[in-house]
């Protein structure tokens, strides 16, 4: 009797294992829930946008997408985990400009090319802002003052090596100025500007937009390709004569070696997800401009942005 029971147990186990393998081989991707790695902590902009996108995309993939926060090391923790995961399409990463900053500053032993990049979903502008009572009405005013007073103006950012820091460094060098960069951290940027500790900050648009609308801050320039839809009156750097385009982009990456049919399915699903009404509404409220780029365009875009970031790091003396 006992032997029979054992036999049944073993038999069922074997059936289960084989059954699972066969169904995995025979059926198309995806057949099980997909892990969706977020490089920052719960509650931030990356997290809110990522969770909303995952939620909007699951119906196009036909499987649940499970958001998992892997914060730390400026995104380095998540990218390392993503790189080391199986290239089977069941682990996808919610990337951002951090995939370029974390790799370029050299804290992880690989470059952004360690991944297959599926698509870009969109971007957020990172404008240069001052207090409303500041004497500088345009970037040229700021530039004039900075030129006459080198090493006087303090520019706050989210941390050394972050996208906001590099934007400020590139602005400084391209305009030939000399400013003090203050790595305030993400939480203290806006309070420090309003409290008068720094005169200028480089900050993702959604954080400063409420202050601008309330009349306590002013945006001088947008380092984007074109003017931001929510602030059509604010000129870009390009319009003011400086070729500075750095965007806080977000998109999807998977480990290198993921089969190309899986890449296609993911690209298609996330494109549909990015156009979903639920995602569009949250994007608009968070100052996130949906601007989808497919695999080929995104690779080209990444190469350009990577060069910019690498140059910025050299200019800022962060890397040799």
């Amino acid at each position: 009797m006992k032997r029979f029971k054992n036999f049944i147990v073993i038999f069922l186990t074997v059936v289960l294992i084989f059954g699972a393998t066969i169904s995995g081989l025979a059926q198309d991707y995806p057949t099980k829930p997909i892990n969706f790695l977020i490089p920052f902590g719960a509650g931030g902009s990356a997290d809110i946008m990522g969770r909303t996108l995952a939620n909007a995309t699951k119906k196009y993939l036909g499987q649940p997408i499970v958001p998992i926060n892997r914060p730390g090391a400026g995104g380095g923790i998540m990218y390392t985990a993503l790189k080391n995961s199986k290239p089977d399409g069941y682990t996808v990463g919610w990337n951002s400009t951090s995939v370029l900053t974390a790799t370029n500053i050299g804290n992880v032993p690989f470059t952004y090319q360690a991944f297959e990049h599926v698509c870009r979903i969109g971007y957020t502008a990172m404008p240069i802002a001052v207090r409303a009572d500041s004497p500088w009405k345009s970037f040229n005013d700021l530039e004039d003052y900075a030129r006459r007073n080198p090493g006087k103006i303090k520019v706050g950012n989210a941390g050394t090596g972050s996208a906001t820091h590099l934007t400020a460094v590139i602005m400084e060098k391209k305009a030939g100025l000399q400013v003090i960069h203050v790595p305030l951290g993400a939480g203290r940027r806006v309070p420090s500007l309003l409290g008068g500790e720094v005169e200028v900050i480089c900050v993702p648009l959604p954080e400063i937009a409420p202050q601008v609308k309330a009349g306590s801050a002013r945006i001088l320039a947008m380092p984007t390709e074109k003017r931001d839809p929510s602030f059509p009156d604010v000129p870009t750097f390009k319009e003011q004569g400086y070729d500075i385009v750095i965007e806080l982009f977000r998109g999807i990456s998977v480990p290198k070696g993921t089969p190309s049919n899986v890449l296609r399915i993911l690209e298609d699903a996330f494109r549909k997800g990015s156009q979903d009404a639920s995602f569009r509404r949250v994007a608009e409220e968070n100052g996130f401009n949906i601007d989808f780029k497919g695999r080929i365009d995104f690779e080209r875009y990444l190469a350009e942005q990577d060069k910019l970031i690498a140059d910025g790091m050299k200019l800022g003396g962060l890397v040799e």
Binding site: A73, I77, N107, I180, V182, L194, N286
Partner: protein, 501 residues
């Protein structure tokens, strides 16, 4: 203004809003009392629900969670010596000692009423003087924060009172651990030995769970669980007597004021408020020696502080549109998803909504009080579980809790490392609280010190020319020298007195 307030109240009292608040509060008690599940995570999980709810209903839900999560953190701190949230870590010191003595019900009762008081006090500040507080909070730049954190660090001395030297060793060890990770100013790795996980440094929650909870499990293993004295859980004496409420009122006020004030400063952080209020409760108490042995005052002050922080952190969020902490950052996101722009204009254009938020916070506090109180007897039953069953369960909770925080077993390993360290520290009578303080405050200390020096271009006088910073430095000086000098002075006074008589 009165009419708007009443209209807002009527709105909040709709059945759907009351039930949303109730659901939030229930969920919050669960999240708060489970180590590793943070209030921020709970909010993020609820956030998608609010997309389809009206603004007031979503705020009832989220504030219910916020308020009861803060209270819930004390439940596991008191019963199991595992703080459910970082802000409950000071509560564990006296709360768990009370539970060991069979006064778990009383400790929980004190924690819940103090939380309620702290929450209500901070709400009053939010309604009455929010713009003033917000203006002062904005004055806190890098030098001010540095001096405030330094003041927090001087508590190492008073938490190591049995042996100041052992307290200092524990604290300095903590500061050494805290140097691991990315350099906060230049972003380069320090002491990470090529391990990417170490770049985010030693994170506070696993350390806290390890230092507090693991030593008791190891003791159980070493002694043999049968020999460990069981908890004596008494189910009576849960409701604090009126007399006791009055006796603890000064500790509650102290905690509530500190919690609200520090909560309103963006970037100051929660644990500093609870430890400062614990320490000042000790300073104003007549029975200083009894702190740490399990007395209600040691629970009342930090618990009033952590719920005070809830209202405090909402001050800059509602008036300036700046979140005071990660939790209010999520609330801010919720506001924006609803199409409301936080900041000064919110009061102008959506005054009724602002009043609804006030009432929703009021209701959240009341419901938390009712829910938590009516379940005390259930919670206390946990202690009736025999230790040989309870300890393994605590062990599992520690593993899950440390893993769940960032979904990595690296944090579980960190938790176990500090658990082992905590066991030996306990065995050789090194206090663990100074180490915890150093690890939680160290990063802020370093970052603000170096940031202030960048701003002043290397001139250290920035710390004394800023008046708020100078004031904190002076208090810190006395706070540091007090425990060292006091025995000498009181010794001298005694000899004087004896010589007089």
């Amino acid at each position: 203004m009165g009419e708007i307030a009443i209209a807002a109240l009527m709105d909040v009292l709709k059945l759907q809003n009351i039930s949303a608040s109730m659901m939030g509060a229930l969920f919050g008690l669960f999240i708060g009392s489970t180590p590793g599940l943070t209030i921020s995570l709970g909010m993020v999980l609820l956030l998608p629900l609010t997309f389809t709810l009206p603004p007031v209903t979503s705020f009832c839900l989220l504030l219910g969670l916020f308020s009861s999560g803060m209270t819930g953190g004390s439940i596991s701190a008191i019963l199991l010596n595992i703080p459910g949230t970082p802000s409950a870590s000071a509560t564990a010191i006296d709360g768990h000692e009370m539970a060991k003595k069979g006064r778990a019900g009383e400790a929980l009762g004190t924690a819940i009423t103090s939380s309620f008081f702290g929450g209500m006090f901070s709400l009053a500040c939010l309604v009455l003087i929010a713009p003033t507080i917000a203006k002062v909070a904005l004055k806190f730049g890098a030098p001010e924060l540095f001096s405030l954190v330094l003041l927090g660090l001087t508590l190492i001395c008073s938490f190591g009172q049995k042996s100041i030297i052992k307290g200092l060793i524990s604290g300095v060890l903590g500061l050494i651990f805290m140097t691991v990770g990315l350099d906060p100013m230049v972003g380069l790795p320090r002491f990470t030995f090529g391990i990417v996980e170490l770049q985010s440094g030693v994170s506070f929650l696993p350390v806290m769970i390890g230092l507090f909870a693991i030593p008791q499990i190891l003791e159980g293993i070493v002694m043999g669980a049968e020999v460990i004295p069981e908890y004596r859980a008494r189910l009576s004496g849960v409701l604090p007597r009126f007399r006791n409420i009055l006796r603890l009122i000064k500790y509650k006020i102290l905690g509530a004021v500190m919690g609200t004030a520090i909560g309103a400063i963006p970037g100051a952080g929660g644990p500093i408020a609870v430890f400062l209020s614990y320490d000042y409760a000790k300073k104003i108490s007549k029975n200083k020696e009894e702190f740490g042995t399990g007395i209600p005052a040691g629970v009342a002050a930090p618990e009033a502080a952590n719920n005070g922080m809830a209202g405090g952190a909402m001050i800059p969020m509602l008036t300036l549109g700046i979140p005071g902490d990660p939790i209010t950052a999520i609330l801010l996101g919720a506001l924006m998803i609803q199409g409301l722009t936080p900041g000064p204009l919110l009061f102008q254009y959506n005054a009724q909504f602002v009043y609804s938020v006030f009432w929703a916070f009021f209701m959240a506090n009341v419901l938390t009080l009712i829910l938590a109180f009516s379940t005390i007897k259930l919670w206390v039953r946990i202690l009736q579980v025999p230790k040989r069953v309870l300890l393994p369960i605590i062990g599992i909770l520690c593993v899950i809790g440390s893993y769940a925080l960032r979904n990595t077993f690296f944090d579980t390993a960190t938790m176990l490392f500090f658990g082992l360290l905590g066991y030996f520290m306990k065995k050789y009578e090194f206090p663990v609280v100074p180490m915890l303080l150093a690890i939680v405050l160290g990063p802020a200390l370093e970052q603000n010190l170096r940031m202030a020096l960048i701003i002043s271009q290397g001139n250290p006088s920035i710390f004394v020319t800023h008046p708020i910073s100078l004031a904190f430095l002076i208090i810190a000086f006395f706070s540091f020298t007090g425990p060292l000098v006091k025995p000498l002075i009181s010794g001298k006074l005694k000899t004087k007195n004896t010589s007089k008589s």
